[in-house]
């Protein structure tokens, strides 16, 4: 690492991985319940497990993004972080809010709105926390020696993500309006501004790992995030097909969300071609694995599988079925989990001065985890398509259908074990690296 204050990223990465482990635990609880083993029903009913699973994902990814920003922004701005102390306070606050949220969920302290279950009182704390974060990296950039496209895209993405949290904090009497503005947060995050964050992180990693000229990489970054918003903003319409909104959303949402894969295809081509152009000579191959893997898997999960059920003719039947879970799992994995893992894989040798990327542990972690998530996606796909045909097309009873597809959740659980093994190896590698060390200053170099 170039600057001492970059080490604060370690805290965010460590707590991100810890929360990810918890997310997996709740995932298994739900998979077992779907198989008919709901022994925990009286203590952790499905809705509590589900909310915990989703919100742990959101909080740990945000923690990963923040860690990435604290690592990238000083390097791009070519100066120390504005305030390391503020960053630590902000880290502690984020974790406290996260822990209270997850404990609160087990006692029904929540808002029953998918993805935004964090209760309103804690929403304010989240906002304050994120403002502190934005202020810290904003001041670092403002006082920095240079403005790079990578840092600006990352900063704009993070700031827009903070602003877009606000529509989710308005109370509506009407379920239709509630839903309408809930998607401003959820959709415009994951299919909008989070892609800026992802693009910014990816661009930083490609610059460092491939040695391709910054101007070239950043030019294509603009093109890709341009496509993201070109398709993604009006693509919000694919959530407005059947919730009581006007019918023009059927074709607007259909057309623009059909274009959304282009942005992800761009990401994939971007990562692969830059890696090829650079000859993949960087010794930290594993960070490049995750970076290129992120481009490819986000295209498959978010782009291709999203397209598979986004057209209104298809979505009429698949809306609100396990088909959505199929797309969701690989999309979040490919686009956001992998970019955070790529960042951690790149940053850890820099932070600690230990070069532990060249052994079997991180490499097997990459392959096993990816095979696991592909298996899970397959299990969800089979269960989802079967559900659509039996329940929606033929009209069988919901519970009869669920019992018929229980076996696919056994497959899901097996694949989930592989994913967990892969993530376990990844975390083991993370622990082996140890803590950030001042000896690593300037020694790493890209």
């Amino acid at each position: 690492m170039k600057f001492r204050s970059q080490r604060v990223a370690y805290l965010f990465f460590a707590s991100a991985l810890l929360l990810l482990v918890l997310q997996l635990v709740f995932g298994f609880i739900m998979a077992f319940a779907h198989m008919g083993f709901d022994g925990l029903h009286d203590y952790i009913p499905f809705n509590a497990a589900r909310s915990s699973h989703l919100n742990l994902l959101v909080v740990w990814l945000l923690s990963g993004f923040m860690g990435a920003a604290y690592f990238i922004i000083p390097e791009e701005a070519d100066r120390e972080l504005y305030s390391e102390k503020l960053a630590i306070i902000q880290w502690a606050a984020l974790n406290i809010v996260g822990v209270i949220t997850i404990i609160g969920f087990q006692f029904g302290f929540w808002e029953g709105r998918k993805f935004l279950e964090i209760p309103r009182e804690l929403d304010y704390l989240v906002v304050i926390d994120v403002l502190l974060f934005i202020f810290n990296i904003g001041m670092t950039l403002w006082n920095g020696k240079r403005f790079t496209t990578t840092s600006i895209v990352l900063f704009v993405g993070l700031t827009a993500a903070a602003l877009l949290y606000l529509p989710g904090m308005i109370t509506f009497d009407s379920q239709v309006l509630d839903s309408y503005f809930r998607w401003w947060v959820v959709h415009l995050w994951v299919e909008g501004v989070w892609e800026l964050i992802m693009g910014g992180i990816m661009s930083f990693l490609l610059i460092k790992l491939t040695g391709v000229d910054r101007e070239v990489i950043e030019k294509w970054l603009y093109v890709i995030v341009g496509f993201t918003f070109l398709s993604g903003i009006l693509g919000t319409g694919h959530h407005y097909y059947y919730i009581g909104t006007p019918d023009y959303w059927l074709w607007i949402g259909g057309i623009f969300s059909a274009l959304e894969p282009l942005a992800f295809l761009g990401m994939a081509l971007y990562a692969v071609s830059m890696a090829r152009a650079g000859g993949m000579r960087h010794p930290n191959r594993i960070a490049l694995f995750w970076t290129v893997g992120c481009g490819v898997m986000s295209f498959v999960g978010a782009g291709f599988l999203g397209f598979a059920h986004t057209l209104p003719q298809v979505n009429l039947w698949t809306h609100g079925t396990l088909v959505t879970a199929m797309h969701g799992h690989m999309a979040f994995w490919g686009a956001y989990v992998m970019v955070v893992f790529a960042m951690i894989s790149y940053a850890m040798p820099q932070l600690t001065g230990r070069k532990l990327y060249d052994n079997w542990v991180p490499e097997w972690a990459f392959w096993i985890a990816n095979v696991g998530i592909i298996g899970m996606t397959g299990a969800f796909a089979v269960a989802g398509v079967a559900q659509v045909y039996m329940e929606r097309k033929v009209g069988m009873d919901f519970l009869d259908v669920q019992e018929a597809i229980e076996v696919h959740f056994f497959g899901l659980t097996l694949a989930g074990c592989l994913l967990t093994l892969g993530i376990g190896l990844y975390i083991w590698n993370f622990i082996q690296y140890g803590l950030p060390s001042d000896e690593a200053l300037e020694s790493g170099g890209a």
Binding site: N47, R50, K114, Y180, W220, V223, G226, F229, I243, G320
Partner: protein, 229 residues
């Protein structure tokens, strides 16, 4: 070849342009939504029901308007599908209605809360959703035939809304409890009456719940059941 500043303009210009269209369409949607959601029918009960729905995180298992989790049934049309009476009985003791199957949390709602929830779900079912959820289009033709047959016989309303969830007559209905064809040959009116009043008292461990039927409903059911020969 595309320059970096052109690429930047593509990003900034494209984003502003499509954001502007999105805002415009949002304004238009907000104008049309009141009619599509029957704003005039959004009574205080409906709104209270919505907040109960949120308070209990019903979306954590069910979907509504297709949104939520995939562990429990889609509820957009539940009032039309099951009827308000059925929901009232079901929600007081969900496990009793589907013994041994996937469980729902026992909420101990008050009667007022239940009627607010039903008001909310009734209102949801009337929203113009562009055709969601769709009617099953591959449904076997026999379902249509038996549905028309069911309407031609004079079943008590309670039977067609509640009992049918578990029992079948003439091939229509649930399979949790035994089919009731010919039940009039097996049981007398007295036996049926005693059974319906309190099934677990007659046969401890039975899956059939005590439904606390009003006397009039119970005798109407008994009189009809004995005719099933």
């Amino acid at each position: 070849m595309l320059s970096k500043s052109q690429a930047r303009w593509f990003f900034v210009g494209g984003t502003m342009f499509f954001a502007a269209i999105f805002i415009f369409l949002t304004v238009d949607s907000l104008r049309e939504i009141p009619a599509r959601q029957n704003q005039d029918q959004m009574t205080a009960d409906v709104v209270r029901g919505k907040f109960i729905w949120e308070r209990e995180n019903c979306m954590g298992c069910h979907t509504i308007l297709g949104e939520g989790a995939y562990y429990a049934p889609e509820l957009t049309q539940v009032v039309k599908r099951r009827g308000a009476e059925w929901i009232k009985v079901f929600i007081k003791d969900p496990e009793a209605m589907f013994p041994g199957r996937r469980r729902m949390v026992q909420y101990d709602f008050s009667d007022d809360e239940i009627s607010d929830l039903i008001a909310f779900l009734t209102w949801i079912g009337e929203i113009d959703t562009n055709g969601f959820p769709p009617e099953p289009d591959l449904a076997p033709a026999v379902v249509v035939a038996s549905a028309s047959m069911a309407s031609s016989t004079a079943k008590p309303a309670y039977f067609t809304t509640i009992c049918i969830a578990c029992h079948s007559v003439g091939g229509t209905g649930g399979s949790v409890g035994p089919a009731l064809d010919g039940v009039g040959n097996r049981l007398t009116a007295n036996e049926l009456d005693r059974w319906l009043a309190d099934p677990p008292a007659v046969k401890p461990g039975t899956a059939m719940p005590k439904l606390n039927l009003p006397d009039a409903t119970r005798s109407e059911l008994v009189q009809w059941l004995v005719t099933l020969k």
